[in-house]
């Protein structure tokens, strides 16, 4: 399985970019590469930012993530961006990009490790394990629903990488929303109508 963005398409222009290995003032600025950001991530960002405006939009991100064996749907891209920028603007700066990049690497590793039969897909029995490795507590009923919905076709439903990412982001994102509203006492979360819609819509409408 070809890697995802772990090693982005090598660009001949790498040497043209000033070697900024992170900005010591990162914490003071809205979005910069944190100090110690690996060079290849910086390069990847610059490479992706085709219009050079300092931000990566959804089309740019989709283009760059889809260069390898796995295509990414626009929906997954939107989910990714919402997840790492906590806004609906669908623009990503260096800091968020770095976080996303690192997460994707992590997810990709997990995906590969859990796809034991190497068919590029994760089946039900692999999925539960996978989520556990990632630290998500996903009830069985939810797992069944996820698989059912993501793959209606096969006799043995399975998630390809794009769907897997979509799944991870959705589960992670919703779990976080739940936690934000969770009461330690009851273990339940209380939402007002407005906050419910607002929390949930970005995932539904990605």
């Amino acid at each position: 399985m070809a890697g995802i963005v772990a090693s982005p398409n090598p660009t001949p222009f790498g040497s043209l970019f000033p070697g900024s290995n992170g900005n010591p003032f990162a914490s003071l600025l809205p979005s910069s590469f944190p100090p110690g950001t690996p060079q290849h991530i910086v390069d990847a960002f610059r490479y992706s930012d085709k219009d050079g405006n300092g931000f990566i939009d959804d089309q740019e991100l989709k283009a760059v993530l889809s260069t390898c064996n796995h295509g990414f749907s626009l929906r997954t891209i939107h989910l990714l961006m919402y997840s790492f920028t906590a806004t609906n603007t669908r623009l990503m700066g260096p800091k968020e990009f770095t976080q996303m990049f690192t997460s994707l690497q992590q997810w990709r590793d997990v995906f590969e490790k859990n796809d034991r039969d190497r068919n590029g897909k994760i089946e039900f029995h692999e999925l539960q394990q996978t989520f556990q490795t990632l630290g998500f507590n996903v009830p069985k009923a939810v797992l069944k629903l996820l698989l059912l919905k993501f793959d209606r076709t096969g006799k043995t439903p399975a998630l390809d990488y794009d769907k897997f990412i979509e799944c991870c982001i959705s589960v992670k994102g919703l779990a976080n929303k739940f936690k934000e509203n969770e009461s330690a006492a009851t273990g339940q979360a209380t939402f007002s109508y407005e906050s419910f819609l607002f929390s949930v819509m970005p995932f539904v409408l990605a």
């Binding site: 096969g154 439903p157 959705s170 919703l174 273990g187 979360a189 949930v200 819509m201």
Partner: protein, 334 residues
């Protein structure tokens, strides 16, 4: 967007919908909420106390006013409560509960307004309101007095003659020469009108190593009827708000449209909706008909789910982690 399938159904369904719309619009675009139900639908059910039972199977409620919002003739077409934004209740008025007198509907279409056609359920649990005390015992049949055209449409849509309509059949049936529906919209539509009933159709079982049986959404006659009338209702609403006939409605019109369906949506959420559904990528800030449907379905669906948990009509609901996930995920992955 053009539909290549020239099946007679498409023409008859489109014709039916258009024809129906035409006859109502000819009587004037404004204040059409007050029209009595069209003939031949044999509605006459009025508001039955049975409506709202369980999952709010409200075909009878809907039936009483095909435009979805069941306000009395004196209410403005925008029906909802005095000040939907400032009101203590977040969604206008609470809907009538089983056993409530029908007059509770006066102040607002609110929940019930929702696109007509009953919330998630509408299921076998049924409602006595169809005129037959045994309706609740029968899985899914055409309510007495259903317009024969609807029955005919169902039969034509049911291409494999299984007595049930699956997503592909529905998509085919709904798409016409100038209007197509994405599979996602179709799924949302079916999910909204079959809700938890799908489990009755096919029971899914999974053991760890193999998937045995899948849960497939299908519409029976009753659900199909609800879908049909809801779509007509939404279509009427859309046309009412698309004043310049551009085929699109903008954010403020969308807000009004949702309001007339009984949903109070804040500007923030509205903005989300419009951004998502704007086919021009944010330039025109307006949405077209098929996305309007998806929009209505999403708002209706999520609101209905929320309401199920907000049993006190307090405007806030409690969820366990699992119920929260199970509530939201079907919408994500329709």
């Amino acid at each position: 967007m053009s539909c290549k399938n020239k099946s007679p159904f498409i023409n008859s369904l489109t014709h039916f919908i258009l024809h129906h719309q035409l006859s109502t619009t000819m009587s004037g675009y404004n204040n059409n909420n007050n029209n009595p139900p069209p003939h031949g639908y044999g509605y006459g059910y009025g508001y039955t106390a049975g409506s709202g039972a369980g999952a709010g199977a409200a075909p009878p409620t809907y039936a009483a006013s095909p435009y979805g919002a069941p306000p009395p003739p004196t209410a403005s077409p925008y029906a909802p409560a005095p000040s939907p934004y400032g009101a203590p209740q977040p969604y206008s008025q609470p809907p009538s509960r089983p056993g409530d007198k029908p007059h509770k509907h006066e102040s607002a279409p609110s929940y019930h307004g929702g696109g007509g056609g009953g919330g998630g359920g509408g299921g076998g649990g049924g409602v006595g309101g169809y005129g037959s005390p045994f309706a609740a015992l029968v899985p899914s049949t055409f309510p007495p007095g259903t317009d024969p055209s609807v029955v005919a449409c169902f039969q034509i849509a049911d291409q494999d003659g299984s007595g049930l309509i699956d997503d592909k059949e529905l998509q085919r049936a709904l798409s016409s020469y100038n209007q197509s529906f994405s599979l996602r919209t179709v799924h949302l539509l079916m999910y909204t009108f079959t809700g938890s009933n799908t489990r009755k159709i096919v029971k899914p079982t999974i053991n760890c190593s193999e998937w045995q049986g899948t849960q497939i959404l299908k519409l029976g006659p009753k659900e199909f009827t609800q879908v049909f009338y809801s779509l007509q209702n939404w279509r009427a609403i859309f046309e009412r708000f698309d004043r310049d006939r551009s085929g699109r409605i903008d954010a403020s019109e969308l807000q009004e449209a949702l309001l007339s369906l009984g949903y109070t949506v804040s500007p923030v959420v509205l903005d989300l909706l419009v951004s998502k559904f704007d086919k021009t990528g944010g330039k025109s800030k307006a949405i077209e008909y098929d996305n309007f449907i998806e929009c209505c379905l999403t708002v209706k669906g999520l609101t209905d789910k929320f309401k199920e948990k907000d049993t006190n009509y307090s405007g806030s609901a409690n969820f366990t982690y699992e119920s929260f996930m199970l509530t939201v995920l079907p919408f994500l992955i329709a």
